[in-house]
């Protein structure tokens, strides 16, 4: 049933081409179909060796599913495969036009922590603004996905990486703001 370890490439595990824009329903169907073949529960009586291979195959499938179904994790996986360094966002990933806003939000967060009720309204306002920006980024992301899949060059990937970093930065701000308001 299993002749060796599963493929190490996540797209190959699903038997699909490497693409950034994926049909999630198709991916889910493939996940269930492969699970029905590979899950260790279906190899419980096949002996230790087969069971270990089933475990490895099923584990790889689950890892691949977790990464590919999430557009951000999927993009990071592809970028990593292209040799990009996916690290924590750095200061220069902050969109310059937002520097002032970010500074003000951080001030408001600080004041809110100190118990300033007025600051809360300021945090809430900034939160709405940044949530809107996140949604915009996700739209832009989908456009870049399609462009990359169409065979665009490295500059598209560089653009994608910087978009993801910007997103991560905004995401952290949004999280902090939500915690502050909760």
């Amino acid at each position: 049933m299993f002749s060796g370890p599963p493929p190490s490439d996540y797209f190959a595990i699903f038997g699909i081409e490497k693409k950034l824009a994926l049909d999630l329903e198709d991916l889910q169907r493939r996940f269930y179909a492969n699970s029905r073949e590979w899950h260790p529960d279906l190899h419980a009586r096949a002996g230790a060796e087969q069971l270990a291979l089933a475990e490895a195959a099923s584990g790889a499938l689950n890892d691949a599913w977790r990464v590919l179904r999430d557009p951000i994790a999927r993009a990071e996986y592809v970028l990593k495969g292209e040799g990009f360094d996916i690290g924590e966002p750095r200061g220069r990933d902050v969109p310059p036009e937002l520097l002032e806003e970010v500074f003000e939000l951080n001030m408001a967060l600080e004041e809110a922590r100190d118990g300033d009720a007025g600051a809360k309204a300021e945090v809430a306002r900034a939160l709405r603004k940044f949530e809107g920006l996140l949604a915009e980024i996700d739209g832009e992301r989908d456009r870049i996905f399609i462009a990359c899949d169409a065979g665009a060059g490295r500059e598209q990937l560089v653009q994608l990486r910087s978009l993801l970093n910007r997103r991560k930065y905004l995401q952290n701000l949004v999280r902090d703001a939500r915690v502050s308001l909760a």
Binding site: S35, H39, D41, E55, G59, N62, R66
Partner: protein
């Protein structure tokens, strides 16, 4: 065809896999019967075995209902709710110890040692007694040895608690084919997949643990999206609260504080539990308690109970909301809600669930039995008897390793579908270093001190070389049981690397082996004894039947040789009867069966002739 048909087929059948719900308060065993799972009754006809073990001064441990009685007569020798201590160290259970009359022996840092009647027991050792009782019940009922099982655990159990449950199974002589999460098992038992593809929430409030799981059903696949819970929240907490109130009440009324008197406390505990149960159907009841010639009666209304337990019931709502958030679903998207665990009989709990999920919960299956039934279905999947269903479960807690500065670096996130894997490459920090120690933790917090230490893995026998040159790839695999396996490979040589595991909590492999050896001889003896007893019962039945047949006219129709063969077979069976070999008894039984085959036929013919004679045949 013989009159005295016996089934000799049992020996060659493939082994049966049973499903076991090893609960805080009650345990049950179930099996897959042709098409549906069924619970197995004990000798008393009741499938529920209270998870209570009592150690008498002489003789074997007492388990189940009789042990429950001894909780009142011998509280110092009787243990209940031991599941709360599984996979824990003494510092984890300080709160429990205030409420439980357990005596903890010294040296309980990594495995709790309970002292009962001068002997020491570990929680897995005590749980093994409950499992052994369930195994015995299953063997008597099914008439064959049972040594493979699926055992359920709370979804929110960590690695050590799962490992402890597996150890308990091994000590009881069971090969644990799979640990299944209780809420997932319940979903399987309900077979909701037949009705629709949708989102199901399982709310499981048992005796000692609370779980919430959200699943997506798709053509027989049960995919858990997220799980959450509290391994220290359950019906026990309601009991303890009522008990404390009653004790205070009695202290005020009698001027006597009974809280130090274990016999009184256990008797009163039983009284408040009875009252709690009654209030699930009645609006008002009475706590009645008699002790040393004095009586205490207190009216308790459902309203009062609800006021008391509201804070505890509310503690289940936070995990439910987190679980929905992690699963990415809103209450409106949840199609079905399933209730599991005895505490969900409380009307207020049902009301809270209804309000939260905005759906009428399923209660068709007995909440005490549903988990064991689901475990039996999973046993059917593993043994190949159930084909259309498959569970895809998740790990409830994130897994990480300790890095610089006491920070935890997460490798596998919570709610990842299992089996789940991660790999990390390690190297040496100083020249010639031979070992690398990896500290693995479970939990959601950032710092080592806030997470739960799982184990330390020692990568040994690294070839000496300059610092930073070694490259050891460590693969972490959380298997389908939710238990961590670690493998390591030297990337330069491609050789598998030795990993020595030092679990932070729990028994070492050697300790488990020693406990298995100790119990194994006894279990063999037990089973053999029972088989001999059962063979003798069968022999009695046939000897009686043959005795009666000898008085029949048909007996005289046999030849002298045939009659001699019958007598001979009887004599041989009687000889085997007094021995201890059940195979021999069954063997001689079969011989007698064969020897009387003709007699049986003759008698049958006579009976038919007699029947025909007395019947008027209408043309």
């Amino acid at each position: 065809m013989s009159l005295f048909q016996i089934d000799f087929g049992a020996e060659d059948k493939p082994h049966k896999v049973v499903g076991i719900d090893l609960g805080t308060t009650n345990s049950l065993v179930a099996f897959m019967d042709l098409t549906a799972p069924k619970v197995i009754p004990g000798a008393d006809g009741n499938p529920i075995v209270p998870s209570v073990v009592s150690i008498p001064e002489h003789g074997e441990p007492i388990v189940g209902a009789p042990a429950l009685e001894r909780l009142i007569t011998h509280p110092d020798r009787t243990i209940y709710s031991v599941k709360r201590l599984m996979g824990r160290g003494v510092s984890d259970v300080q709160d429990e110890l205030k409420l439980f009359p357990f005596h903890i022996a010294a040296g309980s840092e990594s495995v709790i040692q309970l002292e009962l009647g001068g002997k020491r027991f570990t929680p897995p050792g005590i749980s093994a007694q409950v499992l052994r009782q369930l195994k015995r019940n299953a063997e008597s009922f099914l008439g064959e040895p049972v040594d493979h099982a699926v055992i359920t655990v709370p979804a929110y159990f960590n690695d050590a608690q799962r490992q402890a449950t597996k150890d308990a199974g091994r000590i009881a002589g069971l090969q644990v084919m799979r640990l299944v999460n209780e809420p997932t098992a319940a979903a399987l038992a309900y077979g909701l997949d037949k009705r629709n593809n949708g989102i199901v929430a399982v709310y499981d409030l048992g005796g000692g643990t609370f779980d919430i799981s959200i699943l997506k059903l798709h053509d027989g696949i049960f995919e858990v999206l997220a799980t959450n819970g509290d391994t220290h929240l359950g019906g026990d907490d309601f009991d303890n609260l009522l008990l404390r109130v009653a004790l205070e009440d009695i202290a005020a009324e009698w001027g006597t504080d009974l809280s130090g008197d274990q016999v009184a406390v256990q008797t009163l505990r039983r009284a408040v539990i009875d009252a709690k149960h009654q209030l699930s159907t009645l609006a008002v009841t009475t706590i009645a308690f008699h002790y040393q010639g004095r009586g205490y009666r207190r009216e308790l209304t459902r309203d009062m109970l609800e006021k008391l337990i509201t804070p505890i019931v509310n503690r289940t709502l936070g995990p439910c909301r987190s679980c929905m958030a992690d699963a990415g679903v809103t209450p409106e998207q949840i199609d079905e809600v399933v209730l599991v665990g005895g505490s969900t009989r409380i009307p207020m709990v049902r009301q809270a669930v209804r309000a939260l999920f905005k759906a009428e919960p399923h209660t068709e299956l007995n909440p005490d039995e549903v988990v064991a039934l689901g475990a039996a279905v999973q046993a059917g999947i593993l043994s190949g008897h159930v084909h259309d269903k498959l569970l895809l479960d998740v790990t409830p807690l994130s897994l990480g390793i300790e890095t610089m500065g006491g920070v935890v670096s997460k490798l596998i996130h919570r709610n990842s579908t299992i089996p789940a894997t991660a790999a990390e490459t390690f190297t040496t920090a100083v020249d010639g270093q031979r070992n690398v120690l990896i500290h693995v933790l479970q939990g959601e917090r950032e710092m080592v001190r806030d997470c739960r230490s799982l184990a330390r893995f020692d990568l040994k026998d690294i070839d000496p070389m300059p610092a930073g040159m070694a490259k050891i790839e460590v693969r972490f695999l959380i298997d389908a049981n939710g238990i961590l396996n670690v493998m390591a490979k030297d990337l330069r040589t491609g050789k598998e690397q030795t990993v020595e595991v030092k679990p932070s909590y729990g028994l070492s492999d050697e300790q488990v082996e020693a406990m298995i050896l100790e119990s194994f001889a006894k279990a063999e003896e037990d089973f053999n004894e029972r088989q001999v007893r059962e063979a003798r019962v069968e022999a009695d039945r046939i000897l009686n039947a043959v005795d009666k047949a000898k008085g029949d006219d048909a007996y005289m129709e046999l030849t002298d040789e045939e009659r001699a063969l019958v007598d001979n077979s009887i004599a041989e069976l009687l000889l085997a009867y007094h021995g201890e070999n059940h195979h021999l008894i069954l063997n001689k039984l079969e011989a007698l069966n064969k020897a009387t085959m003709k007699l049986a036929e003759l008698m049958m013919n006579t009976a038919v002739r007699g029947a025909l004679k007395g019947t008027k045949i209408d043309a």
